[in-house]
């Protein structure tokens, strides 16, 4: 089954290409780690795949459907959890979830049951009727997670989903992601940090400046890491202590001057 296919995907923003021809095929349910430094084009790729950006060059197919031709059907069957996305803060989580649930055309009963249960599991049960403008980053992220999962999508796109979550919630979300994979879902997980995804991903794709520079399991990437152009980017993503030590030292020196 063809879950996801990108052919020579390009995106032009005001004359500059932020995606310079991405090719990618996913045929079986798996967790994909889509890794790259900030500004590499991760979010743009996801926005194209989720039908939010409609203008691009190349081909993009999700679940065998053309993103350009059947965006609504695709949106119905995927979930999208953006990073620190805006939500309607004056609403309560229950109201917000019932709002997004209705947009997916879910039954009132289903919405009520699922949102209540999921909020409770995320320890937001006592906040279910409180307005979200007083919520912390992590609490909002939880609501976004629920809103992206509630319609039981087949593919889930996550853009830095752990951002702002506390340590316990991070573990919980990681467990949820693993369980989702076992349930036969495909997860497309974008992050600028390697350590978040290295353990849960079946396949890691590294992009930099709009180009794919690596594709494989974490182990295979690691063993190839010392070869050629991959080296710098890989060390940057995994965090090279030596380099950071030097920078930190220089930082303190500025204060002394």
């Amino acid at each position: 089954m063809n879950i996801l296919q990108l052919e020579n995907l390009k995106k032009n923003y005001g004359g500059a290409y932020v995606l310079k021809g991405i090719n990618l095929t996913i045929n079986e349910p798996q967790i994909i780690g889509y890794i790259g430094p900030n500004g590499a084009g991760k979010s743009t790729t996801i926005k194209i795949l989720t039908g939010i950006i409609e203008e691009f060059e190349g081909e993009a197919n999700v679940l065998g459907m053309d993103v350009r031709k059947e965006p609504l059907e695709i949106k119905r069957r995927i979930g999208y959890i953006p990073e620190n996305a805006p939500l309607y803060e004056v609403l309560t989580p229950l109201e917000y979830l019932s709002f997004t649930g209705r947009l997916y055309g879910l039954e009132e009963e289903t919405i009520k049951k699922r949102s209540w249960e999921m909020l409770r599991l995320f320890e937001l049960g006592d906040k279910a009727n409180a307005r979200m403008n007083s919520f912390s980053k992590g609490m909002r992220q939880k609501v976004l997670l629920i809103s992206g999962l509630m319609h039981n999508p087949e593919i889930i796109f996550l853009d830095e989903p752990l951002s702002g979550l506390d340590a316990n919630a991070v573990i919980l979300v990681k467990e949820i992601l693993a369980k989702l994979k076992m349930a036969g879902k495909t997860l497309f997980y974008s992050s600028h940090l390697m350590d978040v995804v290295e353990k849960i991903s079946d396949r890691i794709i590294i992009i930099n400046k709009g180009e794919m520079i690596a594709d494989g399991t974490f182990e295979s990437l690691k063993s190839n890491a010392d070869k050629g152009s991959l080296e710098n980017i890989f060390t940057a993503l995994t965090g090279d202590d030596e380099q950071h030590q030097t920078t930190a030292g220089a930082f303190i020196d500025v204060l002394k001057s």
Binding site: I53, P86, Y88, R102, L103, N133
Partner: protein
């Protein structure tokens, strides 16, 4: 009220269905938006949640009823049918357009909607229509408030049939105003690069606002108010004025006449709104949402390499001239920079700058009279006073806006830094506004007046500058003081605004009389000018020494 509004929306389901719009989604979106409007909580980072302004809408509605009552006098006593109706519809269209451009511009161009809703299986068309319906509901409420009293007058004067027809024409006017505004936005969104679109729209809104102000002037000229017969002259440009179409359409109903002119006007009145509606929903709606959504996807421009000592900016140079203390300098430069970049500030303030010229035009040339005649006779009058004091009055209005910013939460920096005299920042900020916006306008005014009156007004402009500055400081002091850009927009306090405006007028009036006194007794110039300068100095001391606990949040 929401329930009634939603029921009302259901009446139009058949129209939406025909256009392939998902009605359930549409109702969900509209309902949610109404809930959100009702409980817009004004969050202040220091105080926590503040009270909800659920009365805001009612106050606005009340205000429109009040204005419409004044307009109704014109409608009731107007010299002719066409006059009354043109007046009525001009009022409706003008107010609608103003509301759309000012209060609803943020709703129209809101991009959070797209980020939240477009990732869900909602078509661009459905979302566009939901936003339309949401805005339309409010405009409908406003339209009812605006036309209630006028309609009663029309009933009494012109009969029931005319009233019933005017309900239709008012609705058409509303639709017309909405889609015309949209059309402008879409056009801009279509033909410019995405990067600068928001800037351009801001400028566009400013231009439209001015356009409407001037259009109103034109309309007043059209009506020959002074002659007793006061017949309405049909000129070629009448065919471009929607209120005139509506008036003629109603006349056809009222007098049961149907000439060629009536026919054309009728066709324009009924046809054009629908044509615009059809074209927009058919061809442009999807684009609109998508264009907006691509606006929202933040994209950093290619960064230019920054050199550390790359030239000194204007604001830095001028802040060196006008300020000495670091805090004042900070306030000066912050205000200078943010006023030039903040979209909502520009939107609120720049139109009023343009109004300076509109107002000067109105006051100096006295409405109805022949422009050339009044221009030639100008030199014998004292009307240069308008040129001196109007700019100050308008710029002083900006004092209200510089306390607001979308990015208001960033004002924590004032509180975390060891700011001992917050008044210094405030004074700097006021100075920034004054230097940036008042000086250039004042220079233009000076040039015009020197050309018209000659060197004799030079000393008036010297005196006027000092007097303006003093007045500006006083106007700033009578309100409550806020740190610059520290308040959330929408939190504008409506209550007491009218009294404050009256007080401001009074103060400006006193200052202008002071100037007139000096013109009558030139010797007083040497006594009053030093007094003003000392007052300015004292006022500055006062502002600088404002304590933290006196600063409102």
């Amino acid at each position: 009220m929401e329930k009634w509004l939603l029921k009302f929306v259901h009446l139009f389901d058949f129209v939406f269905r025909k256009q392939g719009i998902d009605i359930t989604q549409l109702h969900t979106i509209v309902e949610t938006k109404l809930i959100m409007d009702k409980r817009r909580v004004y969050l202040n980072w220091r105080m926590g949640a503040q009270s909800e302004h659920s009365n805001h809408l009612r106050i606005m509605l009340g205000l429109y009823v009040l204005i419409s009552a004044i307009i109704s006098i014109g409608i009731y006593t107007g010299p002719s049918f066409i006059f009354s109706m043109t007046l009525f519809h001009s009022y409706v269209i003008f107010m609608m357009a103003m509301i759309l451009i000012t209060d609803f511009s943020s709703v129209v161009l809101d991009t959070t909607d797209n980020q939240i809703i477009l990732s869900k299986p909602v078509s661009g068309q459905t979302l566009f229509m939901a936003r339309q319906v949401h805005i339309m509901l409010y405009l409908l409420l406003f339209a009812i408030a605006m036309s209630l009293i006028p309609m009663i007058c029309i009933w009494i004067r012109f009969g029931l049939l005319t009233v019933m027809a005017s309900v239709v024409t008012v609705l058409l006017s509303v639709i017309f105003a909405v889609f015309l505004t949209y059309y402008f936005y879409l056009l801009v969104l279509r033909f410019t690069s995405e990067k600068r679109v928001k800037d351009i729209i801001t400028w566009f809104q400013i231009v439209i606002t001015v356009f409407f102000a001037i259009g109103y002037q034109l309309l007043l000229r059209l009506m020959d108010l002074e002659s007793v017969t006061a017949h309405f002259e049909l000129r070629w440009y009448s065919f471009f004025l929607p209120p005139v179409w509506m008036a003629y359409t109603l006349e056809a109903v009222y007098l049961r006449v149907f000439t060629k002119v009536h026919f054309i006007m009728c066709l324009l009145a009924v046809g054009l709104p629908f044509l615009l509606y059809w074209y927009i929903t058919r061809y442009l709606a999807t684009n609109f949402s998508l264009k907006l959504s691509s606006l929202a996807s933040e994209h950093s421009d290619p960064v230019k390499p920054v050199r550390r000592h790359s030239g000194v900016s204007w604001s830095q140079r001028l802040s060196g001239v006008f300020t000495k203390v670091p805090l004042t300098k900070a306030g000066f430069e912050l205000t200078w920079k943010i006023t030039g970049r903040d979209k909502s500030f520009k939107l609120h303030f720049y139109p009023s700058l343009a109004y300076i010229f509109v107002f000067v035009f109105i006051f100096v040339f006295n409405g109805g009279q022949d422009i050339r005649q009044s221009w030639n006779g100008l030199a014998e009058t004292d009307k240069f006073l308008w040129f001196i004091y109007l700019p100050m009055f308008i710029v002083a209005n900006g004092l209200l806006f510089i306390s607001f910013s979308e990015n208001f939460a960033a004002s924590w920096a004032y509180h975390s830094a060891p700011v001992q005299k917050p008044g210094q920042v405030i004074l700097g900020s006021w100075l920034g506004l004054f230097v940036k916006y008042f000086f250039p306008v004042y220079l233009v005014m000076l040039t015009v007046c020197l050309y018209k009156w000659g060197l004799s007004v030079a000393d008036d402009f010297v005196f006027g500058l000092a007097n303006d500055y003093m007045c500006y400081l006083i106007l700033g002091c009578i309100g409550r003081q806020y740190m610059p850009f520290s308040r959330q927009p929408g939190n504008r306090q409506q209550a007491g605004r009218f009294m404050l405006a009256l007080l401001q007028m009074l103060i400006v009036g006193v200052m202008v009389s002071l100037h007139i006194l000096v013109i009558r007794r030139p010797i007083l110039f040497y006594a009053i000018l030093p007094a003003i300068l000392i007052t300015c100095w004292l006022l500055e001391r006062y502002i600088v020494n404002i304590k933290w606990n006196k600063i409102a949040v």
